[in-house]
Symmetry: C2
Subunit: 430 residues, 2 copies
């Protein structure tokens, strides 16, 4: 087993008998997850289903982008960029074009800044949207299209790749008319579960990372966490869902995802979307927040230790980050760090993690440690799948549908009405 749940700092918050009581409910959740019911559950078998043909096509497009571009503009919002961003933050050794994400807001200052960074540099574009009609990416794509046509004229088409619906939608149609490169988002995979489709794979490969290792890690995870149908309490993905459910029923209402490595910060944002959209409905769900440690121990730390006792914490721990930095030996001990001289920063940082988990636990905050072996693509693939599966189980334990997101539509309806979009001028939003 690659990921390890360390439950020492759950002691007193989650008991064995409480966990045992979940045996039947976890089995029922697994049964629901494995039963086709029209919900987008394709992500569950995606790692083992993804074939050579798709990976080769992604790698070929990625190679072209790497050869021809200094900047890759990735246009998408929510699940259309958070997975790739998580991977680009996480994985060391990028050697492709600089990847800039846009179309995830409508801030003129942000859009201007991205466009100005394109000056004098060769550009490629990957626009990612199931429909093509979401306002944020559509506006950004208009601005980028104008730039591309001005810069490259009829050659622009060779530099644009769309990742979109297999059969319908505005973007699909534009793509066919203009002859842009095209990848498909499987219909049975929702946005926040799509990182292992071309949605995530193309930007990750273009940046120079090994998508085969990523998929290999996800396949390992599928075999470890999804396939076994017994001992679900010993299956870390199911067990983690049971732990969160127990904590939620005991009155915890905020789940703080934390890590002691900034390279995991994009992964925390991905987790916030995954859990927020999957479980935040019907007045339920833990509110997902993130913290970057030890940085935020001098920011949120006081609150975690002594504020309202509504928090639980999930901390990502890495057994080896592959970085051998040590505390330098100085001539003097003016700074009082003599006792650390020559010791590995990695070791000190993990000691800080354990020390903090203990302090928070003492202060009334249960902490689940998820220990991953390394900082590499295989581990990341496993982490993606582990949390996707566990989150889906969490949704079923809460008694909600983890695969819809009805609440995302409401701001859009108000916005279209206020913007005067044809068909939205009534009072339907009130």
């Amino acid at each position: 087993m690659s990921l390890i749940l360390d439950e020492q700092f759950l002691s007193g918050f989650v008991t064995q008998s409480e966990l045992d009581a979940y045996t039947g409910r976890l089995a029922a959740a697994r049964e629901r997850l494995h039963t086709p019911d029209g919900q987008p559950k394709g992500w569950r078998t995606l790692p083992c289903d993804t074939g050579e043909e798709l990976l080769s096509a992604v790698e070929t497009a990625a190679r072209t982008i790497r050869e021809e571009a200094d900047i890759l503009l990735v246009i998408g919002i929510g699940g259309s960029y958070l997975g790739a961003k998580a991977a680009l933050d996480f994985l060391p050794g990028a050697n492709g074009p600089e990847v800039l994400f846009l179309g995830n807001d409508m801030s003129p200052s942000h859009l201007s800044e991205v466009l100005s960074r394109c000056e004098g540099r060769e550009i490629a574009v990957n626009v990612i949207s199931k429909s093509g009609s979401t306002t944020e990416p559509a506006i950004a794509f208009r601005l980028v299209l104008e730039l591309m046509q001005r810069r490259y004229g009829s050659e622009a088409a060779r530099r644009i790749w769309c990742t979109t619906d297999p059969a319908s939608g505005i973007l699909r149609q534009m793509c066919e008319e203009e002859g842009w490169g095209r990848f498909e988002i499987p219909r049975d995979v929702g946005g926040r579960f799509s990182v292992l489709t071309p949605v995530g794979l193309l930007p990750i490969a273009a940046a120079g990372h090994d998508i085969r290792a990523l998929m290999e890690g996800a396949r390992t995870a599928q075999r470890l966490y999804d396939e076994p149908d017994h001992d679900l309490l010993l299956n870390p993905a199911y067990r983690y869902a049971a732990i969160q459910d127990i904590l939620s029923r005991k009155g915890k209402s905020v789940e703080l995802f934390g890590a002691y490595e900034p390279f995991a910060s994009g992964l925390s944002l991905w987790l916030i979307q995954l859990y927020g959209e999957s479980c935040g409905k019907d007045g339920k769900g833990l509110f997902p927040a993130s913290a970057q440690f030890s940085t935020d121990l001098h920011s949120l730390g006081q609150y975690i230790q002594e504020g309202q006792r509504i928090l639980c914490e999930t901390v990502l721990d890495f057994a080896d980050t592959g970085c051998g930095l040590t505390v330098p030996v100085l001539g003097s001990d003016h700074d009082g760090l003599g006792y650390l001289e020559g010791r590995s920063l990695g070791e000190i940082n993990r000691i800080a993690l354990m020390a903090t988990a203990e302090a928070h636990w003492n202060g009334g905050v249960p902490v689940t440690l998820v220990t991953a072996p390394r900082r590499d693509a295989q581990t990341l693939g496993e982490l993606f799948y582990f949390f996707e599966l566990s989150c889906a189980v969490s949704g079923y334990l809460l008694g909600i549908n983890p695969f819809d997101q009805p609440g995302v539509e409401q701001y859009k309806r108000n916005m279209f009405r206020l913007l005067g979009k044809p068909g939205y001028t009534g009072t339907e939003a009130k």
Copy 2:
């Protein structure tokens, strides 16, 4: 009055009579705030107290840094970097060296990456710590000192500035021995209230921003929000504190600070520390979290709309961000954006803000809009002071001391014990 509280989306959550009931409590909070009691309250009169001599000294050092360095390494944790980071994110038009923050964690991969970015570039250093003994910045400073001495030998001292205690501490002592440049952190100003001291001013000036305009905005705020002793319910800083207190007493437990401009993301992190450390004690306080909109409407949006009804929201709105980008006119209406052609992105983005506030309010989330006039140094100075003052009032309304942070020590004691630091080998942390 420069900042405006827009309370339309508090309707039904906060009533006039509830606010009226705060008259006496706000007066009592103001009385406590203005009474010297040994707590670090110097930030309250800092804008009007700061003299020409200090500003000139900061500007002179900043000029030297700008002339001699391609990179400014700012070493500090918590309040020693969050204010400067907020300003550097917020203010347009930086023209100084690239500013890299380190010493806010012990991640070997992060430290390695920062050090590797220094290769082949001229470096200056600003190390910021009251004592010099906090582990995170002390380790980073050791690594940086080794690099500086290797790179510059005896000339290194000319490139190092310390911002530290006026009289004591390890860093003060090293600074005197080595002849580094020196600025002082006033003893009566705590870390999270220190952005308008040299802690924030030196990095902000070095990056090329106008610290006189920043201080001018803060002075305006001091005169508007701190000096008047009557009609406190009409004083936005006091009124905002009353609103948060009412929401907290009605069962809201998470305060989500949001903005529709990525340039405000550093300010949100600064707010999280300010409120988290000031109000998160004795089992009290709203848990401070942040969101970046409209980005996170496709991430946290579902939760905000339909998850547990424990959220309230404070949204920073900017009347004018000084960016004239418009939606380009395309030949066709393939993408369905024809109805937006030629319209200002700034206008569309503010409409999204209002549409979303309405949707969240409809969904049971009270939203306070704080409208600032512009994106400039003066406005930022006013925002810093407004929130410092309001947060202190919030602490008094909660019945806690807003100026201490006892909970920050607990992870340190555990860590020193696990690291075997002399004097910490006992069991005092359990």
